[in-house]
Assembly symmetry: C2
Homo-oligomer: 196 residues x 2
DNA sequence: ACAGCCTCTGACCGATCGGTCAGCTACCTT
DNA sequence: AAGGTAGCTGACCGATCGGTCAGAGGCTGT
């Protein structure tokens, strides 16, 4: 693995656990065993490092959202989307946790604004302007709850690899069940894209 | 309202939205319209300000947890607890959001460790060692999801007062429904404290 | 052998961090 | 009137922040 990739991975982990503002370039450099200057050689700025760390996850999220069309009202399509979404949460739990917990307060960082826009898009799919307050809450609980539980599970270690092999499948299945349950009563608006 | 209370409230809001590390005493002082020295006159240190900001919420949480006994298995008692818990989330959403999103990474801050211990206690009530992975996830999704959705709802403003009067009741009722739904299948262990 | 590039470092920069300190003002007590 | 105390401020401290810069060392192509 290249030094650049090392730095990106370390930065992502530190940003997720200690926060963007709470993580210094010096600390990232020390963990990686390089100088702070070297961090700024590979990345133009701290903000550029943040973009490199969470950008791929946002790109991936955009692809997932682009693949869903208005057929989301059909139970089968919806189930497939939820599975895809849970897989995304499992694979990118650090990035998602970062965005969930630090999304506000990291405004005017371009890559974060892009992520905010994506979540807004996703929300309109599941609960448009005409849906009830409860539907909004269901969507939020599903997204925020799944993101929280994944980041909180391996709290102190925040291990690098995915979950234990044996546990991973069980977690995935349970999450799909829970999220499906949460979103089941939500009616999907499949007409036009909402006005706002 | 005294200057001290002003500072505590401002600090809580800023800590919640920008993070503890991302909020400077200078900024808190500017918002309050006082000098930074004055902040450190009312609070011995930044950490003391954090404790003053979230301590009351943790005390309140401890009281709630102390009031529940092992009768939580009965549906009526469980429902009452969920309502009490949702009310707590509504009243203390800033503190809860702070703890949820910054709990790890704020270790060795005494007041945060106390909050962590409380959540662990709560978790053992709902899902002991013998319960399934899905039960653990259900509990986590309910807690983290409810906390996220409440902090995310009023994103930019992060208004001081509670929700709009008309909307507040609806949000409360919906949250009680959703959390009850999430926790319904979870079997409560009411024998002894789990072995591990 | 030399030139050029990539990787990387230490020294250094101004700004800001949390925190200390001496002292000012206003008010209360005797 | 004198003294004490609570509330507050500006000047200042060392440490650390993100970021710049000149240059060292290694590797490749000529």
């Amino acid at each position: 693995m290249s030094t650049r990739d090392d730095l990106r991975d370390i930065a992502l982990k530190e940003f997720a656990v200690a926060g963007y503002a709470g993580t210094s370039l010096q600390r990232i450099a020390e963990i990686a065993g390089v100088s702070k200057s070297n961090v700024l050689y590979h990345f133009d700025s701290k903000e550029a490092l943040l973009e490199a760390a969470i950008g791929p996850a946002i790109d991936q999220m955009a692809v997932i959202l682009g693949s869903i069309d208005e057929s989301l009202a059909e139970p089968k399509a919806r189930r497939a989307f939820i599975e895809q979404f849970v897989d995304f949460l499992l694979e990118r739990r650090l990035e998602v946790h970062m965005f969930i917990s630090q999304g506000p307060g990291l405004e005017d960082v371009p890559v974060v604004d892009r992520a905010n826009a994506l979540v807004a898009t996703l929300a309109t799919f599941f609960s448009s302007a005409v849906s009830s307050v409860e539907d909004h809450l269901r969507f939020g609980v599903a997204l925020g709850g799944a993101a929280y539980v994944l980041s909180a599970k391996q709290d102190p270690s925040l291990a690098e690899g995915p979950f234990e092999e044996s546990e991973s499948d069980e977690v995935r299945a349970a999450l799909v069940t829970i999220v499906s349950e949460l979103l089941a009563p939500v009616s999907v608006q499949q007409t036009h894209t909402p006005a706002r």
